[in-house]
């Protein structure tokens, strides 16, 4: 006979206010196998855990049921408690009487108490069937992968590399740097973005532990924490990086002009180009879609002129497979498509631009060499209107969320306009001004008080062109009146959105994302850089709109998680995985195709049938890959697959306890 101890937690008043915990403990005493039962205010706290340990030794308990919160948080806590008391940690079962009972039935104490009793009854029935399980360990590949070479990716890679671990950065574009490279100044200090970013770019590029894999994309991710196998597509650059000296002659002589993505198409680049002067690697790439040689087969000027003979038209995409112990996803963000707001005329009027366009216009190495000139005719704008929340906080047309950075960068833009054009007028249409951040509110106050930006609370209803001016019509809700402003240029504070292929990457690696395709952290408060997939961490705006300081902080946090993982020689694996009963397995292979982790394959075993030795096909589970999701146990008709700790017998015992 098993001796089960039942411990009912009040969770302060979280459970106790809806459930009569004392009564549940009393009821549990009558369940078969229960040798001891009690309730306590905070079972997870040290006195609570001591209570469990003491009861285990005093009452010679060999199984423990804790009825408290979701096992997500405290199952590890109580498992450790059992271990310290000398019991196998898997002889613990938790009944979730908080989320599954107290919180959903706050108004009917009697029936909530009954439900809690039933949940405990099931847990007792299951724990009696539980078996001691042992964790095994597997070796760890001591190299990390950072996907995305923006500021978040660079910071994460630097921190990991400085801790002494090897790290690869895979960057889709020809250069690292990301969005931050496009930005002119950074709030709230107005440091030049490039001046603080490029030293980091150089540092990461020269770091002996870091390898840059630019102009490349992750194509396939297999494996699991500690041992990911990642296939990377290195796109054909058409330039031999080892031979190229970066002299720039090819770019100079290339006859084909293409609108520059980096300059927000306000300036041209060549078909063979480096995206920006400080690019790393500072070596060109051929844009094959626009290159005359690739389009017509004629030209080849760059190849003829290259003194290092580095131009290679025959290069092909290369697939390389590398192993990594951990992955940091830092893929950044895209901008919302402002043309959804037809009334603002974005895309129709040249002088209605996004904040990122403005960053290039005001940048010394941008298309206007840092002089603010409007795109349509190159005139210096005198009246500049900023519209905030374009695409953000708008469930009807855009995104429900706040993009977080726009209030501050609009204040920055307003300041820069006033600084550079002394006789200018700056108007900012806003819904709220949100400045929670160190020095942010002070910066905003300076923008209005010192720089004289005029903030107007209200939405813009229409922008139209009249006599070379943009007429911005909106409402000042504080004064309660319509206003019209004759603007020379309008800047939209465009929402940050998830990358176009964000969902695809999440599916490839196997972690979740929200309705806006931003990546979901494992816990919004206590695990903000982890994903639900072990060994995969998040940094930067791919997880949600973020400014630079937040991205950098998150990147360093993710790096610490990676270092924690890579600092071990081996890591423990959960024993709660599937096993195959080969005697029953018919070898149909349904489990192989339903397994999301590719953890099952078919193998042959030798057997004697009718006096002859035959080879019989059966399923075989790779314990390293199996995540214990249980899909195979459901697919297997003859129940040859069984999930340890959630075995058919254990689940049936629970069902019987509830129904019989």
């Amino acid at each position: 006979m098993k001796r089960v101890g039942v411990f009912i937690c009040h969770c302060g008043t979280n459970i106790a206010q809806a459930v009569d915990c004392e009564k549940v403990a009393q009821n549990a005493q009558a369940f078969p196998g229960v040798a001891f039962s009690t309730d306590y205010k905070y079972m997870c706290a040290e006195p609570g855990q001591d209570l469990i340990k003491k009861a285990i030794s005093e009452h010679r308990l060999d199984r423990v049921v804790v009825a408290s919160c979701s096992p997500r948080m405290h199952e590890p806590t109580f498992r450790k408690c059992l271990e310290r008391a000398g019991l196998n940690p898997y002889l613990l079962e938790m009944a979730n009487i908080r989320e599954h009972c107290a919180w959903v039935h706050p108004d009917d104490k009697e029936r909530a108490t009954l439900k809690a009793t039933e949940l405990v009854r099931m847990a007792v029935a299951k724990v009696i069937q539980n078996e001691p399980l042992d964790r095994s360990t597997i070796p760890i590949t001591k190299r990390a992968l950072v996907i995305g070479g923006g500021i978040a990716g660079i910071q994460a890679a630097l921190d990991i590399a400085n801790a002494g671990h090897l790290v690869d950065i895979v960057e889709k574009e020809p250069s690292i740097g990301g969005r931050m490279a496009q930005i002119d100044k950074t709030f709230p200090t107005l440091d030049c973005s490039a001046c603080i970013l490029t030293p980091k770019m150089v540092e990461v590029a020269n770091h002996p532990n870091v390898r840059l894999i630019t102009y490349s994309e992750v194509e396939k991710v297999e494996g699991y924490v500690g041992n990911f196998e990642v296939t990377i597509r290195q796109k054909a650059r058409s330039v031999d990086l080892s031979a190229c000296t970066g002299c720039g002659l090819c770019t100079e002589k290339c006859p084909t002009k293409v609108p520059s993505e980096f300059e927000m198409e306000m300036m041209n680049r060549k078909a063979i180009y480096t995206p920006f002067p400080q690019a790393i690697p500072n070596k060109p790439v051929i844009d094959r879609e626009n290159c005359r040689y690739f389009k017509t087969g004629k030209c080849g000027v760059c190849q003829k002129l290259c003194p290092a003979q580095a131009v290679d038209f025959t290069q092909e995409d290369q697939l390389v497979t590398e192993r990594y112990g951990a992955i940091v996803v830092a893929t950044g963000f895209d901008l919302f498509d402002d043309s959804v707001y037809g009334e603002y005329g974005y895309g129709r009027y040249k002088d209605v631009i996004t904040g990122l366009h403005f960053e290039r216009l005001v940048n010394a190495s941008g298309p206007t060499m840092g002089k603010i000139k409007r795109p349509s005719d190159g005139q210096e704008p005198k009246n500049v209107v900023f519209i905030k929340c374009v695409g953000s906080r708008d469930e009807a047309k855009g995104k429900a969320y706040c993009s977080k950075t726009c209030c501050m960068y609009t204040a920055k833009h307003a300041t820069l306009v006033r600084e550079k054009i002394k006789d200018s007028n700056v108007y900012v249409f806003y819904m709220d001004v949100r400045t929670p951040g160190k020095g942010y509110e002070e910066f905003y106050t300076r923008t209005t008080d010192q720089y004289g930006a005029k903030y107007l609370r209200g939405r813009v209803s229409k922008i139209y062109e009249k006599g070379g001016k943009l007429i911005v019509r909106g409402e000042d809700t504080l004064l309660g009146r319509q206003i019209e402003i004759e603007a020379d240029m309008v800047v939209l504070a465009t929402a940050m959105v998830a990358k176009e292929n964000a969902a695809e990457l999440a599916q490839m690696i196997g972690f979740s994302y929200d309705q806006d395709n931003f990546y979901t952290e494992a816990h919004p408060k206590l695990a903000p850089v982890e994903t639900h997939t072990a060994g995969v961490f998040l940094a930067g705006a791919c997880q949600g709109p973020k400014d630079i300081p937040d991205s950098v902080a998150q990147a360093s946090a993710a790096a610490v998680k990676v270092c924690g993982l890579l600092s071990k020689e081996r890591m423990e694996t959960e024993p709660t995985i599937s096993i195959v009963n080969e005697a029953i397995c018919a070898g149909c292979g349904m489990c192989v195709t339903v397994c999301p982790y590719k953890a099952i394959e078919l193998k042959f075993i030798q057997e004697r049938v009718d006096g002859k030795v035959i080879n019989r096909r059966v399923a075989s589970v790779n314990s390293g890959l199996c995540q214990g999701c249980g899909a195979c146990t459901v697919a297997c008709r003859s129940a040859a697959l069984n999930l340890k700790h959630f075995t058919n017998e254990q689940i049936l015992a629970e069902v019987d306890a509830l129904c019989l």
């Binding site: 029953i584 195709t593 899909a631 697919a635 003859s638």
Partner: protein, 299 residues
């Protein structure tokens, strides 16, 4: 029919004579004139037992599972539905294609045994219900072919979309009515497992209903256990049922088992796109593979 019977005997004799296969699986005349049970012929002198008539209902592919570990080849006669079952068994990795010699027989549709019993030999016996809706009367896979298949293809091509009016009638019921309907049906079940034993989709090494120690199902014959059996069996063949209707024919208690199977087929077609089991060996099972684009409504 006689012509095909003669051809059957001839080819079976040749195959056994040359030693191409150790056994030929076909049909023979049974206890009554309206029964044609399976025959397992392993001697040349026995080939005259083989027949092809209006009552060759049994899906012979099912029996290939018994020869799974034999070294010698097996020859087997297949109608359209037998050939679909053969493809299904290939997909379930229960047989190997090269170890089976398939002799295809075009099937014009078989006759209803129960009606035959009442109407007598001279009566105008109607076709079996399952054959009326058959979309694949011609074998889909074969090594040899007896008879003309073109004609039947034309017939099949003129067939209307599958008729789900019986399923729709059940769907239109209220949950209580539906429960009452199925309770009434399955209260008759004697759990003889004939439906399972005759089904080509049932090819487990050990059926869950035989795993008495685990406690999936009790031995008692009552509504609860019977219904558990009914639903479990239906779900276990879901996405793999080739609509040969053998379960319903074999049922001694006249339970409309195909109605359950058809309901699931209809649901699969609606949820995962049109899918006919046992047509394409390389097709992915609608309920048997993980897909990244699977909806995750619960997450």
């Amino acid at each position: 029919m006689n012509e095909i019977t003669n051809k059957m005997r001839k080819i079976a004799g040749e195959i056994l004579q040359k030693g191409e296969a150790s056994v030929v699986i076909g049909w023979e005349k049974g206890t009554f004139w309206y029964l044609s049970p399976p025959a397992f012929i392993d001697k040349v002198e026995d080939v005259d037992r083989l027949v092809w008539d209006d009552f060759c209902h049994n899906n012979l592919s099912k029996y290939l599972v018994d020869f799974k570990y034999k070294e010698e080849k097996v020859a087997i006669f297949v109608k359209g539905c037998d050939s679909r079952a053969f493809n299904r068994l290939l997909q379930d990795k229960q047989i190997e294609r090269e170890k089976v010699i398939l002799i295809g027989i075009p099937c014009p549709g078989l006759k209803d045994q129960d009606q035959a019993k009442t109407l007598g030999k001279e009566g105008d016996i109607p076709k079996a219900e399952k054959c009326l809706e058959c979309k694949y009367p011609n074998p889909l896979v074969y090594d040899y072919y007896l008879g003309e298949k073109e004609e039947l293809d034309e017939v099949a091509a003129t067939k209307e979309a599958p008729n789900y009016s019986d399923v729709e009638a059940i769907e239109a019921m209220s949950p209580d009515e539906r429960y009452e309907f199925w309770t009434k049906q399955y209260d008759r079940c004697i759990r003889c497992y004939a439906c399972r034993n005759v089904c080509p989709a049932c090819n487990c090494r050990e059926c869950v209903f035989d795993q008495t120690c685990v406690g999936w199902i009790g031995k008692a014959n009552n509504s609860s256990e019977n219904q558990f059996f009914a639903l479990t069996r239906a779900m276990h063949v879901a996405g793999r049922c080739i609509e040969c209707g053998e379960c319903e024919r074999a049922c001694p208690m006249d339970i409309p088992i195909m109605l359950l199977n058809k309901k699931i087929i209809k649901d699969i077609n609606e949820l995962f796109g049109e899918y006919d089991a046992g047509i394409d060996v390389d097709s992915k099972l609608p309920l048997g593979h993980f897909d990244k684009s699977d909806p995750e409504e619960f997450m």
